[in-house]
């Protein structure tokens, strides 16, 4: 039951995922758009046998058309609020760009519950966390890339742009290296504290002129599969007050867009280095009719872990800082994007 519970948490969070890219599975290749998620470790795509409404809106894997497909025989389930995402496991060739990964374990979902995936713009998920987080037995994709010596360097890097209308690319994942054109200044390296998520120790979170949170240190996860910054309820509720955010019926927090210039800066201190977000960076503006709505980029997550209180640094943070995930030395690099 712990395993099911663990994976259930992944699926819900995809409500906030925003960035996706293309991969292919099978021979000849069948294309899918997937979230490249550092907060999970499995690869799954919809199956051609999927009977759910959600699957009708997405590309589905046709195992019978792939010459390299190997049936696994095991099923997998991802518990999901009022239902389960159910699937079967298999192995096949996966291509990402020009790179070919052989015998990759992956899941084909045959039942996707509820309405979430009807709305999703992506077909599936490709997890980039450590193997200990994987639900599907076998190596996660990047582990297989390392085992098959497909990449020279055991690192991957994310550039995520928040200026989607004008920027090209809107984001970039570089597998096997670091793109020096995507950041300014030097890289600050942080050791991974627990090899499960991409988890590091955080020194503190400081609100300009109003005190700090986790003053004696806490842990943070860098997660490309979510958009917000999460933290313990007690801290985040106080943080929402300090930035003048008020709750909605949906558990979101809105801010008066005209007040943005007066809001404090918020600084995350990691490895002794300050990572500061201005209000323009931590507030999310979303068009709503003819107006913009401003949402707080912070969300309460109570995470009970052996390491104590945890924060989640999602896209709101990662759009400002180029991030490098180094499996060779088990460390995360951050630099000004």
């Amino acid at each position: 039951s712990l395993r099911l519970r663990r994976s259930s948490e992944k699926i819900y969070n995809f409500m906030d995922a925003q960035y996706y890219g293309e991969i292919s599975v099978g021979s000849p290749p069948q294309n899918f758009s997937v979230i490249f998620d550092t907060g999970s470790a499995d690869l799954w795509v919809p199956s051609s046998y999927c009977v759910s409404q959600a699957c009708a809106f997405h590309r589905r894997f046709k195992a019978f058309e792939s010459k390299t497909f190997q049936h696994d025989g095991r099923s997998f389930g991802i518990h999901y609020g009022s239902g389960h995402l159910l699937g079967v496991m298999g192995r096949d060739t996966v291509k990402i760009g020009d790179m070919t990964i052989l015998n990759q374990e992956f899941g084909e979902s045959v039942y996707e519950p509820g309405s979430v995936f009807v709305t999703a713009k992506f077909d599936g998920v490709l997890g980039l966390a450590y193997q200990s987080l994987a639900e599907i037995l076998g190596n996660p994709v990047f582990d297989n890339m390392l085992a098959q010596k497909i990449v020279d360097q055991p690192v991957f890097s994310f550039y995520l742009s928040r200026r989607t209308r004008t920027s090209n690319p809107q984001g970039e994942l570089l597998l096997g290296g670091i793109d020096e054109t995507m950041y300014n200044g030097s890289i600050n390296w942080l050791p991974v504290s627990v090899k499960r998520y991409w988890q590091v120790e955080m020194d503190s979170v400081v609100v300009q002129g109003a005190g700090s949170f986790c003053p004696s240190g806490c842990h943070a996860i860098l997660d490309t599969g979510t958009s917000l910054i999460g933290g313990p309820t007690r801290d985040v509720m106080r943080l929402q007050q300090l930035i003048g955010a008020t709750p909605t019926n949906n558990g979101e927090f809105v801010i008066d867009c005209t007040r943005l210039s007066s809001l404090p800066r918020i600084t995350f201190i990691l490895g002794g280095k300050e990572y500061t977000l201005t209000s323009e960076q931590y507030v999310r503006k979303e068009a709503f009719g003819i107006n913009d709505l401003c949402f707080s980029g912070f969300q309460a997550f109570d995470i009970i872990s052996p390491e104590g209180p945890m924060w989640i640094l999602g896209d709101v943070f990662l759009t400002e800082f180029y991030s490098i995930f180094d499996r060779g030395l088990d460390r995360i690099g951050l630099a000004q994007a």
């Binding site: 890219g21 490249f36 760009g97 809107q170 019926n249 995470i303 009970i304």
Partner: protein, 48 residues
């Protein structure tokens, strides 16, 4: 031995549901407390 994967940014499912006026009903139907569970590896026994 490197590959660049272009990423596209799209509105999140949450943003789309909100725009369509479906978010509140969705959250009622799908137990919002589940949102907080994603990262919890081991709730102590008896945790509500």
């Amino acid at each position: 031995a490197m590959v660049r994967v272009a990423l596209r940014r799209v509105p999140s499912i949450r943003a789309q549901l909100r725009t369509q006026g479906l978010l509140e009903d969705f959250l009622k139907e799908h137990r919002p407390d589940m949102f907080n569970r994603r990262y919890a590896q081991c709730f102590p026994p008896g945790t509500p």
